[in-house]
């Protein structure tokens, strides 16, 4: 170690204090860890640590309350947006966010998610989409791509048997209650920077009281996909991104230019290459 460089005044990056010292239980390389860290960094940068309430889901990120040094509520499976609605309505000056996976937000919690968005609740929702139920052993989720193997679709998801994958973020963008809807990823430094900017915007929007801000993070699940973290990130770029395109969908209450009906209405099933 070069002691000329390693001095407190030369520090350019270190773990944020809004995360606790607990070691996260996530698998090596999981996007949840990165997403936790950037949410915590945003809370630190905005200086709202004592005014923030998070709502934890059920799923891999069920223990999120152990990792953020902010107040937390634990919701029943899928009900985080309903609980966040209550917290926000009772404490309108607090910053309230939910942190959910695809099995929580897009499956059992579809009703709560759509209605919270349609009511235009002034909350921030962070949605981590890895196309699988990671915590319970890699079963098929609503977001699993056609042809993608999972514990319950060992020969790949089959439309006749398992139906079509769901792009909930695009559905939410069509509702009048959402103010900011975007899809990001956290697998490269550039992607992390963009995702952090989006999450910051989503938190700042709460002050405007104009509706719900929704940030989807397309993530990997290297354990569920049975790959190394680096392979999983590559597979995600090749198969997840064509079906879950990265970028803003709705900004300041208006659909981004170029997001037409062809993007919002999925004409062919989302499938692996």
């Amino acid at each position: 170690m070069n002691t000329d460089i390693v001095k407190p005044e030369n520090l350019v990056y270190s773990r944020t204090k809004v995360l606790t010292d607990a070691t996260m239980h996530y698998c090596p390389g999981c996007g949840h860890g990165t997403t936790h860290r950037i949410v915590a960094e945003v809370i630190e940068e905005l200086g709202i640590q004592d005014q923030t309430v998070g709502v934890a889901p059920v799923g891999c990120s069920v223990l999120a309350y152990n990792y953020f040094d902010v107040d937390f509520q634990e919701a029943a499976h899928g009900r985080a947006p309903a609980l966040a609605t209550a917290v926000k309505r009772l404490n309108p000056n607090l910053y309230v966010f939910t942190y959910q996976g695809d099995g929580d937000l897009a499956a059992i919690g579809t009703a709560e998610t759509i209605h919270a968005a349609n009511r235009g609740e002034n909350i921030t929702m962070v949605f981590v989409n890895n196309g699988i139920y990671g915590m319970t052993g890699g079963q098929m989720a609503p977001t699993t791509l056609v042809g993608m193997k999972s514990a319950t679709t060992p020969y790949g998801r089959n439309v006749e048997l398992n139906g079509y994958p769901l792009r909930l973020t695009e559905i939410l963008a069509t509702l009048p209650g959402t103010y900011f809807v975007t899809r990001q990823s956290v697998h490269t430094p550039a992607a992390v920077r963009k995702a952090k900017k989006a999450i910051k915007q989503a938190f700042e929007n709460q002050k405007l009281k104009k509706g719900l801000s929704f940030v989807e993070i397309v993530s990997n699940c290297n354990s569920g996909w049975k790959m190394t973290p680096v392979q999983a990130n590559k597979w995600m770029e090749e198969n997840m991104f064509p079906n879950y395109p990265i970028g803003d969908i709705k900004v300041e209450g208006k659909l981004v230019e170029g997001i037409g009906l062809d993007r919002l209405v999925v004409s062919s099933p989302l499938s692996v290459k």
């Binding site: 070069n2 460089i5 001095k7 990056y13 090596p28 949840h32 973290p229 990130n233």
Partner: protein, 72 residues
């Protein structure tokens, strides 16, 4: 005067996912042959060419990397 960087990795918390290895523009980081107490091959700096860009720290899912940068 050159900008030099240095990374400090918390070996015990590192899970050896190697996402930082690919993120480093100067290929400074590699996984160690040694393991930490949990059995993970932790990441370590193997070259002295760090520029302190913090790309590794930004993608680290467990936030184990601290980055220092100075003009020497």
């Amino acid at each position: 005067m050159a900008v030099k960087g240095e990374i400090v990795i918390d070996r015990e918390r590192c899970k050896g996912c190697a996402v930082c290895v690919g993120a480093c523009p100067n290929a400074v980081i590699a996984l160690s042959k040694n393991v930490n107490s949990k059995g993970y091959n932790y990441a370590e700096a193997v070259k002295d060419e760090c520029i302190g860009c913090a790309s590794c720290a930004i993608v680290c899912p467990d936030g184990v990397i601290s980055v220092y940068r100075a003009k020497l």
